[in-house]
Structures are given as C-alpha cells and as structure tokens.
C-alpha cells in the first residue's frame, strides 16, 4: 500500500466520521462545523483525483457560501445547544435497510464495471483540465446552453432578491 493510498483512506475515514457526527451531535453549531469538516474532506478527495478546480469550487461554494449561511441562520435561532428531543424516529429501521440495500447495490454494480481496477492514466504535463472545461462551457457543441440557462436562472434570483429588498415606493 502506498502512502497516497494511506492518506486517501485517512481522509475518507475522516470524511465519513465527520458526516456521521453531523447527524449525531445534539449541538446545532457543532453539527454545522462537522458538516464543514465533511465537505472539506470531499474537497481533499477531489485533490487526490487531480480535479483541482472541483476541489476549490467545493470549498468556495459549500464551505464559503452554504455553510456560512447555515451557521449564520443557526446563530440567529435560540437554544442551539440543548435540544432534548429524540434523535431517531420510529422509521429508523426502514431507513437503515434502504441505505444498506443501496450501498450493496452500488458495490455490486461497481464491481461488475470492467474499469474498476484500472489505474488512472498519467495525464501529460500540457493537459489543462481547467482550460478544457472553460472551452466546453462556451462551445456551441458543448455545454453553452445549460451554462447560459444557469446564468439566466441566477440572474433571475438576483433580480428577485433586489425586488424583495427594494420595498414599496
């Protein structure tokens, strides 16, 4: 086992552990911080896959925007630390069965995939994934339509937010 594999296993275990803590701790702010740890672990996994752009985008969007928003919302609520309610409801057995079944199904399907044991090809030094991604986003044969649609959607959200904040004149 190489060092890279050990590091991968450590990060994967950390991510899974953090994800478990997100749903099991009682303190809401702690849960949000564990969520950030889990998302950061996923960013590191992207780095292992040499997908630098995805890793950084993961940090910018999920940690920088969404988690900060979650924490901000939690801080505005009361009694974040003491929530004496039950952590499980009655349908936890069903949820567990479905989760295990999905996991087993995933493993089964992936193990039959012929390329599962293939090692990743070494990319040439000139291979610039970021440039290819950028070109694909503006290429008419590529993803220009989804890209523009997403832009229009975000613009609409932006204008909507301004309209709400504008007040009545």
């Amino acid at each position: 086992m190489t060092v890279q594999q050990i590091l991968f296993l450590l990060v994967a275990a950390g991510t899974l552990g953090s994800a478990f803590m997100v749903v099991s701790v009682r303190n809401l702010v702690h849960a949000a911080l564990w969520l950030i740890a889990a998302l950061g672990g996923i960013a590191i996994l992207f780095v292992f896959l040499s997908a630098g752009f995805l890793a950084v985008a993961q940090v910018v969007i999920y940690i920088g925007a969404i988690s900060i928003l979650i924490i901000f919302t939690i801080m505005l609520t009361r009694n974040v630390a003491i929530d004496p309610g039950k952590q499980m409801n009655s349908s936890w057995v069903g949820a567990l069965i479905i989760a295990v079944a999905l996991f087993v199904l995933n493993v089964l399907i992936l193990s039959q995939w012929s390329e599962i044991n293939k090692t990743a090809p070494v990319l040439p030094a000139q291979y610039d994934a970021l440039r290819l991604l950028g070109l694909a986003l503006v290429n008419p044969n590529g993803y220009v339509l989804p890209f523009e649609l997403a832009s229009v959607l975000l613009l609409a959200a932006l204008i909507g937010a301004i309209l709400i904040a504008w007040g009545r004149r």
């Binding site: 060092v3 630098g52 752009f53 901000f72």
Partner: protein, 406 residues
Amino acid sequence: MVDPINFIAQWLRNLMAGWRLSAGLITVILDVIGVLVLSVFVLLVAIFLVWVERKVVARFQDRLGPNRVGPYGLIQPFADILKLLIKEDLTPKGADRLVYNLAPIIALATVLLLWAVIPLSPYVVGSSINVAVLYIVAIGSISTLGIIMAGWASNNKYALLGAFRTVAQMVSYEVPMVIVLLIPVLLSRSMGIQDIAKAQTPFWNWYIFLAPVAAAIFLITSIAEIGRAPFDLTEAESEIVAGFHIEYSGMKFGMFYAGELLHALTIGALFSTLFLGGWRGPFVDQVPFLGIFYLFIKSFLIYYVIMWIKYSVPRIRIDHMLNFNWKFLTPISIALLIVTAVLDKVLQTSPHWVYWLGMLMANIFIALVSLSLVRRYGQSKRIAVGSPRPVARPENIYPQNSTSGD
C-alpha cells in the same frame, strides 16, 4: 545558476532514494518539509511584523515607538511574545470550549494557507496549481469561518455582534474582489498565479499599469477582508469593545493578532504578484533566487500603504461600509470587467503600445466617470442637508401677502 531551495530539495530526494524509500513516500516527506519550512519562515516574518507595525504607527502618530529593548527596539516583539505566553489563559464561562480553542488556529492557519500558492521566485512556489486565484477566494471564505467561530463560541454578546458584522462585511466585499481578480486572469489568460506573474514581463506590462482601477479595488476590498481600519467595524472599540476576540487572552489573542498582521503582509504579497509582477526585478532571469527579495520588498511596500491607510483614515459607519461596497465598488468592478474584456478582444491584433495605452485610458476614464458621479451624488446629498428647511413659523404656514404693514 541553481536555485538553492530546489537544489536542497533535489539533494534530499536523492538522499532518501538512497535509503530505498518509495517515490510516493519521498514526495509526501518533501511536501511536509516544504510546508514546515514555509510556515516557520512566514511566522518568523510575522514576529518581525509586530516590530514594523509598532514602529510605523508610532511614526504616523509622531512618537518614537519601541526603542528600549535592543537596537531600535528590535527585541520588543520577543518581549511581547513572552508577555502573551505568561498571561493567564482564560476561557469564559459558558463558552463552547472546542470551538473557542479552534477559532484562533483557523484564523492563523488560513493566512498560512494563502502562502501555499504565492510564487516566491520563478522556481520556488508551494503549489503551482492552475486554479490559484480561485483558491485565494476559497481560503478567504474559510477565514470568515474562523471569525464566526470565535464570535459565537465566546458566549459574549459583543463578540457575537462583531461576528455578525464580519459576515456582513466579508461576504459582501468578496463580490467586487472576485470580479476584480478576474481582470489579471483575463489579461494573462491563466488562473495560475505563477503564470500571472510570468505574463507581466517588462515592467511596463505590470498589471498596475494595465488595470490600475482593478488594483485599487483589490487593495480596498482586501483591507475590508482583513478587517483593518477603515473597515475595522468587526472590532470597533468604541461600539463593541473588541469584537469577536474580546474574550481571548494570552497566546490565543496573540494568534489573532499575528494572523491579522500576517494577513496584511500576505495581501501585500498577493497584490504584488497580481499587479506588480511578483518576483520580477532586475537580474532575476540570471539569479532566480533574487525573486524572493523582490517579492518581499514589494510586499512590504504594499504593507506600508495598508498601514498608511489604517492610521490615517477614521473608521466608516456600517451603512456607509455596505453602501460603498454595493453601490460603488461592485458596479465599477462589473463595468471594469466588461470594458477590459471587450477592449482586450478589440485591441488583440493592434500593436502592443496601442493595447497598453487603450487599457490605461479606459481605466482612467472609468475612474474619472465614477468619481464624478459620486461627487455629484455627494453634492446633492449635502445640498439637501444644508438647504434651509421649512420651519413651523406663522409666516410659513399662513402666507402673508397683503399684511405687509405690520
């Protein structure tokens, strides 16, 4: 000439290869050593920064500053550190102990993380990733997190208020900052910060000449991101005592303090890499190692400018802070990005001096137009405040046109 740092790294690699370690392990060990060396070096610079900061602020305030301990007071920061180390380490009652202790670590670590992508010389860079500009933005958002954690975990209303202000400020100033960061990316056709530094080849091609307004906006938004005066609403002493770090004492406070100083220098390094050519300087092609000195000279220059602003400008009010960002900086940066992109495409085939002059003129035009718009707006506001208001006096309420005799 061989670069000493790469030479040592190559020597260590060969040494460990002689011990029959696997290639992957050697890479990991070398990376860890590199991280340690870089962090220790940057933290040592931070100790020196304490002295620089105190000496410079003293000069701005017509004082001498530290001058008792050692020559020119150079040993003063060590005395400061000793004082911080032997101070009692308090944890307030009701504080969230884990988060409370984690916050100063995150605050300092995020600053150190920024140094991972700053190219120190043509061949010495922590990690030459092709998304370095986006990485800087990502790390900036994590540093917001450290401050929120500190504010929330302290169990103090002033700390929480400071944290709220921080979120409002950092999240909003990120918007023009990201837009403006796109301009060097656009001019150099790369998101890698090393490529940006390499693209500014003769000194007149530094992006401060091609995009001066972008440079100014980057500096302003960076100061807001650090939370230094005039944007230090997060620790406004007269309003919320000390803001998010009110409950911290001893070395934990020291970490916030060192983080802030170091962040200012890091902004200087980023600014000089993005707009001042980074490690570029005379003879750097022959002796690449000189790049480190050039980078630090430029960084300290920008650091001086940041201190200059900090100690000359009073703190701005919170609504002014938000208005300044959303109604002034953001529209300008969007206009600047559009104009730069269009001009870049239009002038692509024209001779270089036309391109250069066109970019500079467009920037000056945008700056003049926006400043005159702001001046006109300010004038109209001042006229509205300064003009005489209707007063509830009888002659104002009952117009007296016929009774002129009494």
